[in-house]
């Protein structure tokens, strides 16, 4: 629990809390971006350069932009008049607390918690690339195929239908 970790954790949690509680949807999306940036910084704090930069590139460069685009294209930037929380928020909090409790109990009871943390491996970007291209090449290809299929599907859905006369 170093000082940098605490600062980053506070930023990340504050971003996600703001994303849930703010009134304006675009503000929520921007607050979510702070959470993404905080997570990227946490990865960098753990010496995972590749994961951190990929998080920045994918989540801030693409996912955040996608979210704000969708918000703008679907419902505009008008703020809701009523309450932000749905009426069943008490049940939601209860379920969340229950899930957290179960997870915390399982993690506390895990035998891995007693062991000393192994020394952090010095993973370079080159090693990640080697692993992806040699050992895990099949999953990588499958993911690529899936994404290509999704892309083609999106194009087909968005394609203009022939005019029926």
């Amino acid at each position: 629990m170093t000082a940098t970790f605490i600062i980053l954790a506070i930023i990340t949690i504050a971003g996600s809390v703001a994303a849930m509680t703010l009134r304006n949807l675009v503000h929520c999306a921007l607050a979510l971006t702070i959470t993404f940036a905080g997570l990227a910084a946490l990865y960098l704090h753990l010496d995972a350069q590749f994961a951190g930069f990929a998080q920045l590139l994918v989540y801030i460069g693409a996912v955040a932009i996608l979210i704000v685009f969708v918000v703008l294209l679907t419902r505009g930037s008008d703020t809701p008049q009523g309450a932000v929380f749905s009426s069943g928020w008490v049940a939601g909090v209860a379920v969340a607390a229950l899930v957290f409790g179960v997870l915390a109990y399982m993690i506390r009871g895990s035998h891995a918690i007693g062991q000393a943390a192994p020394a952090a491996p010095d993973v370079s970007v080159r090693q990640i690339g080697d692993q992806l291209m040699i050992k895990y090449v099949l999953p990588l290809e499958v993911v690529g195929l899936l994404l290509t299929a999704a892309l083609i599907g999106a194009v087909i859905i968005a394609m203009r239908e022939p005019e029926q006369t």
């Binding site: 590139l57 801030i60 460069g61 932009i65 685009f69 970007v125």
Partner: protein
């Protein structure tokens, strides 16, 4: 002698750091690097604005600024003072916090992106193992800033401009990254320093720059086109489009915030040009062995000014594209060309030295260029221009 001048800034920094107490040394070292980076590139920004206005003036048969100082070279100073003394007008309906943050979120990432570029021998402010990835990762934040500026202004023109800008930046980021991948593939490293080192040395008098290979030449041209689009410069300046949407996403910015947007745009241009120099033009290496006595950072800035001159020239000569032309060009021409270029780079590496790979490379670059170009133009007849009323 040559070595002393070449390393004068590095030695100076080491000396300065060694004068401070041991605890403060990492911070002092970082501050010196950051200050040097900001100082050098802000000065270059001032120089570029005057060069650009002068150059565009020449292209358009006028003088350009010529009132402040000899030949108008003090114009940037006057502009800066004007920007600082102007009132900062924020629209009443604007979202104040987001409106305030947008220029900052543009300027900080572009300076961060600049910090991984090697500007001289041993002169990389932030020498990362994954430097190129870092460059693209922080560059992604500029899109968010454009959105924030456009949305928070509560102005339909600024929102339209932001939408255009984001669509354009996302589309051209794909060819930008894909056209730099062949270099990473050949060098086998994401570190900017390693990429520059791989381009050192000479064959005869010719340098080992990647520009002088078929895939490097095609990659450089594709990279520069995508870079022009990424930095929203003419002919890809639709997000600003003065005649249609006035100034796009920064229409509601005035005073120093506007100046910050301007600064961010130019620093972004320098950063992406610097990356082009690192990837294709041999970084700080001299073009000929007999010119190596000139310090490395002078070579970097000479190349940077050359690319800036090229961009000014393009801005002065090429008309602005239409939105559909822009998108068609990105997805139907740039993307296939960059993918083919990747293939050429792989084959180039596998075929080994010899004439065969030159023939293969040139054929695989020029052939698709002709085919894709014809397909992009389509079946339209480009005949003599006809006029409906004036004859």
């Amino acid at each position: 002698m040559g070595n002393g001048i070449d390393q004068i800034f590095v030695d100076g920094k080491i000396w300065l750091v060694s004068q401070t107490p041991l605890v403060a040394q990492p911070i002092v070292s970082a501050v010196i690097s950051i200050a040097a980076l900001i100082g050098a590139f802000a000065t270059l920004f001032a120089l570029t604005t005057i060069l650009e206005r002068k150059g565009l003036g020449r292209i358009q048969n006028r003088y350009g600024p010529n009132r402040v100082g000899p030949f108008g070279i003090l114009q940037p100073l006057a502009d800066g003072l004007k920007a600082m003394t102007k009132e900062d007008v924020v629209p009443r309906a604007a979202d104040h916090v987001v409106h305030f943050l947008a220029p900052l979120i543009l300027v900080v990432p572009v300076f961060l992106a600049l910090s991984v570029i090697p500007i001289g021998r041993n002169m990389t402010a932030l020498d990362l193992d994954a430097g190129i990835l870092f460059f693209f990762a922080v560059g992604a934040a500029t899109e968010l800033s454009v959105f924030m500026a456009g949305w928070s202004s509560r102005n339909k023109y600024s929102l339209l401009g932001a939408m255009r800008a984001i669509a354009q930046m996302i589309s051209y980021e794909v060819p930008l990254i894909l056209s730099s991948i062949p270099v990473i593939l050949i060098v086998g490293s994401l570190s900017a320093t390693a990429i520059v080192d791989a381009q050192g040395g000479y064959t005869g008098i010719l340098p080992h720059w990647f520009l002088l290979t078929p895939w490097g030449l095609a990659g450089f041209i594709l990279f520069m086109i995508a870079a022009t689009a990424e930095s929203n410069r003419s002919p890809f300046d639709l997000p600003e489009g003065e005649s249609e949407i006035i100034a796009g996403y920064y229409i509601e910015y005035s005073g120093f915030k506007f100046a910050l947007f301007f600064l961010g745009e130019y620093i972004g241009m320098f950063a992406v040009s610097g990356l082009a120099i690192t990837l294709f033009l041999g970084g700080w290496h001299a073009p000929f062995p007999f010119l190596e006595f000139i310090p490395s950072y002078i070579w970097f800035f000479a190349k940077l000014l050359g690319i800036i001159a090229l961009l000014i020239w393009v801005r002065g000569t090429v008309p602005r594209l239409r939105m559909d032309q822009l998108m068609n060009f990105a997805w139907k021409f740039m993307l296939p060309m960059t993918l083919i270029n990747l293939l050429v780079a792989v084959l180039w590496q596998m075929m080994g030295p010899g004439w065969g790979r030159w023939l293969m490379g040139l054929a695989l670059v020029i052939g698709p260029y002709i085919i894709l170009g014809k397909a992009l133009v389509g079946h339209r007849n480009w005949g003599k221009r006809t006029y409906r009323f004036a004859d």
